[in-house]
């Protein structure tokens, strides 16, 4: 068929977004791979770097350490989150909304903040140091507790979804057959939530093995892969070895990614079968147990964040416990001062704005355009890739690619722009999937109606698709903003003295021993993200309702 103007425009936009992802992801990844097989002078030396890596027991031991904490955290987080999700979906306890909100708090802070909090709680000068019974919080114990805190909401969200799609008709059938609730649990609940749980397990695994902030802050002598990358690059300026460790780190992440995609596909198949939402029944004893359980978990989360809040306000821990805002005088410390906070806000806004535009447009072409089939599949594949790349690796890859003297894009290096590009890319996939899910709910014939009415596709896009998708678009924007505020791993390699960031400042101040100001800066990020979320809720309640009158049945 001849190409219409719409087709040319589609090809044009798909190419632009495709090229963007190539530059922001594929080329840097190629750069890091080739770096790992070169010597310091850039000469190809095959697998020599890998040989020296694997003959260094200290480095190889990090692989075991990384796997160890990832698997332990995975087991703990999934168990805790499953019961929590079960309470939220299948019980009639009071305060579900509050529990859910509390459980989401860890998403709003940089991962390393929980490490700092643990130091205040259980460290050498900690409030509860006696509870440690001689064990050291610096090391695997501290890492695992902090990682559980950090990964809990991620697992919870996935498992809640999985549990809520459990078909009510199955529960009714089980009840009619007088199945005992224990048996119902094993024959109905668990199987239908199976894929969700597996998927959550792999997400947690990936988050932990690629996390850098927590082991950096509270790991002590306990080395893990992500920290090794940092140490090789920042500490020893050994870029080639950094590249090698990165490649090693990609493997488990990639594996988890592939398994997760396969499992997700099965989950979707369950979702599309017409299931009915299950309404739980009252059961006093069960509801009480669940209430107690959720309270305990919530107290744990609130203690961690509350400790940070307190620590940030104490004048000089543990000698002068009077409260003051001294620790918020960031301009008096190293780490970038208040500027780094403003930079983070800027990064958050730019990432949210440009990221949402790029991701939503990209997802629109993937899902809605009827021409250029291959282009669309390639674009979708490219959009799924960032999820498999750990942040540390992405950041390092950017150094190799953008800092290369022959790269015409070299001018981006050290600017805010490269931080924005890197952050958008780092969080691309989840946003892409959110956009796709929302677009899939829109009738595919809209584009056809529009072309039969001789209207260009962008008119339908702006007048129909975008307004209908506003809730998802806001959701993506918030996601980008919050993550841009909290991320450390990718940007830690890319910030310059002019573009220091709040999350990196937390890391650096902690490194310099200014733990209280680090906690204070972490809390600034928390206040900001919490405020943004609250504003978002108000906006969706008030303004969106006004613009979405059409959703209501009555005139």
């Amino acid at each position: 068929m001849k190409k219409s103007r719409d087709d040319y425009l589609t090809i044009f936009f798909i190419s632009i977004i495709g090229i963007y992802i190539l530059i922001a992801l594929a080329f840097p990844m190629y750069a890091i791979l080739s770096k790992s097989v070169e010597n310091k002078d850039g000469v190809f030396i095959g697998f020599e770097n890998y040989q020296s890596y694997f003959s260094n027991p200290a480095l190889v031991y990090s692989i075991y350490n990384s796997l160890f904490i990832s698997i332990i955290t995975m087991v703990i987080t999934i168990s805790l989150a499953f019961v929590f999700a079960y309470a939220l979906t299948k019980s009639c306890m009071v305060g579900k909304g509050i529990f859910r909100s509390i459980a989401m708090i860890p998403i709003l802070v940089p991962s390393l903040l929980s490490g700092i909090s643990l130091i205040y709680l259980f460290g050498k000068q900690g409030i509860f140091r006696d509870l440690m019974m001689g064990y050291d919080i610096y090391g695997p114990i501290g890492i695992i507790i902090a990682e559980v805190f950090y990964t809990f909401p991620h697992a919870l969200l996935i498992i809640i979804t999985a549990l809520s799609i459990g078909d009510a008709r199955l529960y009714e059938a089980a009840k009619v057959l007088r199945s005992k609730s224990i048996r119902t649990f094993f024959t109905v609940t668990l199987p239908s939530a199976k894929y969700g749980v597996i998927s959550a397990a792999f997400v947690v695994f990936t988050l932990v093995i690629t996390d850098f902030g927590i082991p950096k802050v509270i790991g002590g002598q306990f080395n893990v892969l992500a920290v090794d990358v940092y140490k090789q690059v920042i500490g020893q300026q050994n870029f080639e070895m950094g590249a090698v460790v990165s490649v090693v780190l990609i493997f488990p992440a990639l594996l988890a990614f592939v398994v997760d995609r396969i499992v997700q596909r099965k989950q979707v198949a369950i979702l599309t079968s017409r299931s009915v939402v299950h309404e739980p029944n009252k059961n006093k004893k069960f509801d009480l147990i669940m209430l107690i359980y959720c309270s305990v978990i919530s107290v744990f989360i609130l203690t961690i964040i509350g400790m940070c809040l307190y620590a940030s306000l104490v004048t000089f821990w543990p000698y002068n416990l009077s409260l003051s805002l001294d620790n918020y005088q960031f301009d008096l410390m190293d780490g970038g001062g208040w500027d780094s906070y403003y930079n983070s806000i800027r990064l958050g806004c730019y990432t949210a704005f440009f990221g949402t535009i790029v991701v939503f447009t990209g997802a629109y072409f993937v899902e809605k355009s009827r021409s250029v089939k291959t282009g669309r599949s390639i674009l979708h594949l490219l959009s799924m890739m960032p999820m498999a790349i750990p942040g540390m690796v992405l950041g390092l890859a950017y150094i190799f690619f953008f800092n290369h003297p022959d790269n015409p894009l070299n001018f981006l290096y050290g600017t805010m722009a490269i931080l924005v590009i890197c952050t958008i890319t780092h969080f691309y996939t989840v946003s892409h999937l959110t956009a796709l899910t929302s677009l899939k709910q829109i009738d595919n014939e809209f584009e056809h109606v529009s072309s039969s009415l001789k209207q260009p596709f962008y008119k339908t896009f702006f007048r129909v698709t975008v307004p209908i998708s506003l809730p998802a678009i806001f959701e993506i924007g918030i996601y980008f903003f919050v993550n841009a505020m909290t991320t450390v791993s990718a940007v830690v390699f890319l910030y310059s003295s002019k573009t220091n960031l709040a999350s990196v400042a937390v890391l650096n101040m902690d490194d310099a021993g200014d733990i209280a100001p680090a906690a204070a800066m972490g809390m600034m990020i928390f206040y900001t993200n919490a405020a943004v979320r609250i504003v978002y809720v108000l906006v969706t309640k008030k303004i969106l309702v006004k613009f979405q009158k059409w959703r209501t049945k009555t005139v």
Partner: protein, 353 residues
């Protein structure tokens, strides 16, 4: 008369699966053509090929003396109503209808006038500011129709426009759409799987099965002169028999010899006869009389449908007949009553298997 649209030798493959097999037909200007067939036979695919939403693997399409085979949809001249209506949910009725009017730099007044005109036409003037969630199914359907007609397209394409509605509304809208089409004189192709819908609305029916056109013609022709067993069976109700030739105008069904008015050539045949062409023998002088037993009577109002087990010479076979209700009731014919029926010779038709 001039052909407005001509579709020539269209083949369409989805991978190995052939959805359309050498489909050709013509549509005259102002004609209302129904594409009728069971679900999955390729009707929607054919409509989408005509619209350019799907590209044919082979074949040509001419519209208004112009080869449009390779044109993208926005360069063809048609309006379309989808099965889902695809109304833009966030736009008011007015903005839905005016969606296609805003290109040619028309001024606001012209557009408003056109919208009012269309709303009047479909009888929805009171709903101009509502959103689609606030309209009934039938109303949504009419908005979709008005939106498709707004730019005055030369060809109107309707894909099962009534299938989502309940029976009452459907009957009402059938007439309404038909009248509208006549009034505007717009050439229309409608896809449906509902034979009653096709029979009541179409000037001409194109009957499809498994991606092939089985037969085309006026509703009367399709009903009274089915060419294939599929046509006979799909449109209305019918009886089908295997038969052997005896002579030019006599044949044998299950051992019984019957007279017919066809000019028989083949040795083995398929024969059809409509239920209403089977009469109860009153005098015993009618042609082709067979004896049988009533197995079941279905009351249809003025008619009663009888399922009769007929004693052909070599075996008993079930036959469906329509009788006037009055006659059945007056003569106290019940289940298990014996009757003599006559298969009228002119009504025995030879069809392709």
């Amino acid at each position: 008369m001039e052909q407005y649209l001509s579709v020539k030798n269209i083949n369409k493959y989805f991978g190995d699966f052939q959805a359309l097999n050498n489909v050709s037909f013509n549509v005259k200007e102002g004609e209302f053509v129904c594409i009728l067939g069971p679900s999955g036979c390729g009707k929607t695919t054919l409509l989408r090929v005509i619209a350019g939403l799907e590209s044919q693997s082979e074949g040509l399409i001419n519209q208004n003396n112009k080869d449009i085979s390779l044109l993208p949809p926005d360069q063809r001249d048609f309006g379309i109503v989808f099965q889902s209506y695809a109304l833009f949910p966030n736009l008011s009725v007015k903005n839905n209808i005016s969606f296609g009017l805003k290109t040619r730099k028309q001024n606001k007044e012209t557009i408003d006038k056109r919208v009012d005109e269309l709303l009047e036409l479909v009888g929805l003037s009171d709903h101009i500011n509502k959103f689609s969630a606030q309209l009934s199914g039938g109303e949504q359907q009419r908005v979709a129709l008005a939106r498709a007609l707004a730019p005055s397209p030369g060809l109107l394409l309707l894909d099962e426009p009534l299938s989502a509605l309940d029976a009452k509304v459907r009957q009402h809208l059938r007439l309404e759409i038909k009248n509208l089409q006549r009034q505007l004189g717009v050439t229309t192709i409608m896809v449906t799987h509902d034979q009653e819908e096709a029979l009541t609305m179409a000037d001409r029916i194109i009957l499809m099965n498994n991606g092939v056109i089985e037969q085309e013609g006026s509703p009367q022709d399709l009903y009274s002169k089915p060419e294939t067993a599929f046509s006979a069976n799909f449109i209305g109700t019918t009886n089908l028999f295997k038969a052997k030739r005896i002579s030019e105008n006599s044949l044998e069904i299950n051992g019984s010899t019957l007279e017919c008015k066809e000019n028989i050539k083949d040795d083995l045949l398929t024969i059809t006869i409509r239920p209403e062409d089977i009469k109860i023998s009153k005098t015993g002088n009618e042609k082709n009389i067979l004896k049988g037993t009533i197995k079941e009577l279905e009351f249809l109002g003025s008619n009663i449908r009888g399922h009769i087990e007929v004693d052909f010479k070599s075996e008993k076979t079930n036959v469906i007949c329509n009788f006037a209700s009055e006659y059945i009731l007056n003569n106290n014919i019940q289940n298990n009553s014996s009757v003599s029926i006559s298969l009228q010779p002119h009504a025995l038709k030879v069809v392709k298997a």
